[in-house]
Symmetry: C2
Subunit: 461 residues, 2 copies
């Protein structure tokens, strides 16, 4: 019998702002970061190694400490709990953590306390997978329809999807599961790359990266847009020239427009046969997205990386506001909420194309996409999962992408464990990397006889 | 020339859980708390006293430290800034603080980082009022339509309300301002009480409090509901019996129902001629509220205390989902966002009836309601502002309610300054009150030869 004996919460930040990776119209100087949760136990896994759960959520730098502080308060509730009992009632564990009235006031179910809950529950899912000796997608795919619905958070959804409908929907996919798993083992799950199109890249760099993506077999290219229409048109022209007429081109505005502005801007780019416009306006604006969808058709509308919970997704479906469901594995509160959203998407016939990139998101969403194909929607048609090729080297079970496809994860857990060395280097502010930057700043200040204002300020934040 | 020289952020918690004040179907053991921000300057106000701004947001206990930590990061940006420049561009100051991309990731514009931004900007508004020697409602009411629209956050609202429409709407109210101020000075602004109807109170206590409320002149009584239908019906019968047929009775479910359940429950209480059902379901469920509104008419739908920003309010109006606009002065990011919501409400013809209670919310929303009447909607018809009579003794300029009406605030600022002694007593965990509780717990543990689990755990959280 294993118990959770202690928790470790780490604020880990990678200095991605130094290279403009991840730049877009709304986010200009982020350091990709993870609020990282480890649940230690006194048990061992099937291989005899110490059993622990590792989970994270993704942020863009400052404020990662705030999310970590919230995760610490939430994870504390799990200390002393029996691991087998938790694993046997993952729905109950989730409901226990979400029903903390005082933390609910700070959301409810949104923002910092939901990001942090995601990190904590992601660690619980990793723990459950390791205990079962299965990757998380498989742990879920092996559940009966009833068991899977029991872990899904269906609260506030019954006007769109009842428990019975959800069970019927899952039951209809039961027969083909084994075949679909075999198919995934063979061909993997399609992905697309955002790495080519960051706003901070020069035209030349973007062209070269598009060419490389095509060479690597990608069928979809996404460009950041939204600061300057001429700039966007020039880049879209270059990209379309490189990828030809048969591959898909998408654009991503990262919330910069009001509704009418979004419609006008996207329509001004109609020549480029866009598959989707992503995050055209406020992520909270369900009715606004519906208006944009009507206004820019046949260009599709994609959103979700800032869609803060299943109730918002429910309405995006009810209002016919989106074409592509970009759920985020660090913003939704773990598989408990992701499964609910994937059930809704299946009912409304919308393809789930998860948001990824950042730190560890690719590692998590591959499990969501595989599960969706195997047990929920049963289809890969029109689906494509985001992939950004950076920071995977910090994970013990990193994603494997070959021929523009995620390969089926096979190791037990959620693929969310980071190497101890990575944490030691990038823990903020006292990891080896950041200590060196502090010392650099101090030396520079002495050398220049002045405060190295920018660096020092940033480190002091 | 005054500058902001330093900030102080306090985590202040009052032990309201000991008396079941504030209990409802979702929140059972909260300690009413304030994340409190002080902006110190090197200037003096008109009376020669040191000039400072005091702001807060309200939480229900645990997690108040998380909000305070976020407020500290946001307020830090104001240190060194010129007070007169800030006061001359309150819209720009707000936009500067909301455009921090890394903090936006944690929302955007919702949850912890929005609550904390509210506390910071509330302190800025208090500072601006003191600098001008005016209460905040008056500072705003004295602005021209253009100036008032400039401080309002209209981002993402243009599909519902353009800047020109907002100016026209304000201009139409210009002529009657002086007369309406005189009327407010004479009669005040109507309020209602929630103090009678907390869920944890016995029938006898509730009856007595209803009788007292009627004796004090209240025309509205609100009961918490949602845990047990028979219990709710019994309490509604008692309340209606006490208040008679001509006063208004409202119920408040604090988000416990799914959509269909809400409709059925409220319809089962139709005999009691309810004015509104408040927070029937998830505060994020705009379309759900619209369905409830259609399903329970003529009972009205009220919501807003958890409506996290102006974009959500915009959609509640666009979807015809609410009848009463219960904006919250600690959840919306200060007057910059409140004015935007009040402009939307005026355009859509919906009465603003702010949420209050907690700590300091009454002190703030009186300014919002007075401003709405004087300059924005120009009407008191069908409006009533919440009032709960507790914790006002901690404020240097507490609300004055006479004959069930808020009296017009006259002192400079936002009425949000707390006495230093209150902060010293209730600062968590090191204020005098909480230190004593720690010592009590330690003594009890020794006396009982066992850990005083509940108290100690709570204090350790």
């Amino acid at each position: 019998m294993a118990r959770i004996t202690s928790i470790e919460i780490e604020d880990v930040r990678f200095p991605t702002s130094l290279t403009a990776d991840g730049s877009d119209a709304m986010n200009k100087d982020g350091d990709y970061s993870a609020a990282y949760v480890v649940l230690r136990t006194d048990g061992v896994d099937a291989s005899g190694a110490p059993l622990a759960g590792h989970g994270l959520t993704f942020t863009t730098g400052r404020g990662n400490d705030i999310v970590a502080a919230a995760a610490r308060q939430q994870a504390q509730h799990l200390v002393g709990r029996d691991v087998a009992e938790i694993a046997a009632d993952l729905g109950g564990t989730y409901r226990y953590l979400t029903s903390d009235a005082q933390m609910r006031w700070l959301g409810p179910e949104k923002g910092v306390v939901h990001l942090s809950l995601s990190a904590v529950m992601n660690a619980v899912w990793d723990l459950a997978g390791r205990l079962a000796g299965k990757p998380v997608w498989r742990l879920l795919a092996d559940m009966t329809p009833e068991e899977l619905v029991d872990i899904a958070d269906l609260r506030y959804l019954s006007d769109a999807l009842t428990r019975d409908e959800a069970i019927a929907l899952l039951r209809a996919q039961e027969a083909g599961k084994a075949e679909r798993i075999a198919h995934l083992e063979e061909v993997g799950y399609p992905c697309y790359t955002t790495s080519a199109g960051w706003l901070g890249y020069s035209d030349e760099k973007m062209r070269r990266l598009c060419e490389e993506a095509v060479a690597e077999g990608y069928q979809h290219i996404k460009l950041k847009c939204g600061l300057d229409l001429e700039h966007d048109i020039r880049r879209a022209r270059i990209a379309r020239e490189v990828i030809g007429p048969d591959r898909a081109l998408m654009i991503d505005a990262n919330q910069v427009w009001d509704v009418e502005e979004a419609i006008d801007w996207v329509n001004a780019m109609k020549d480029f046969d866009l598959l989707w416009i992503e995050e055209p306006t406020s992520p909270d604006d369900i009715l606004g997205h519906a208006a944009v969808k009507r206004g820019v058709a046949p260009v599709g509308v994609a959103t979700g990386e800032h869609c803060h919970n299943r109730v918002m997704f429910k309405q995006l479906f009810q209002a016919d506001a989106i074409d592509f469901v970009q759920l985020d594995a660090g913003r939704l509160a773990s598989m408990n909420e992701i499964v609910a959203v994937m059930l809704l998407a299946a009912k409304f016939g919308k393809p789930v194309c998860p948001h990824a990139g950042g730190v560890g998101l690719c590692e998590m969403v591959q499990h969501a996409s595989m599960l969706d194909y195997v047990a929920i929607s049963g289809s890969m048609e029109g689906r494509v999962t985001e992939f950004v090729d950076h920071l995977h080297e910090h994970f013990t079970d990193p994603v494997v992408v070959r021929d523009a496809r995620y390969r089926l994860p096979s190791k037990p857990g959620y693929s969310t464990e980071m190497f101890p060395g990575s944490i030691a280097d990038y823990r903020f502010p006292d990891g080896a990397y950041w200590r060196e930057r502090h010392e650099d700043a101090a030396r520079a200040a002495v050398a220049a006889g002045t405060a190295a204002a920018t660096v020092a300020e940033r480190l002091a934040d």
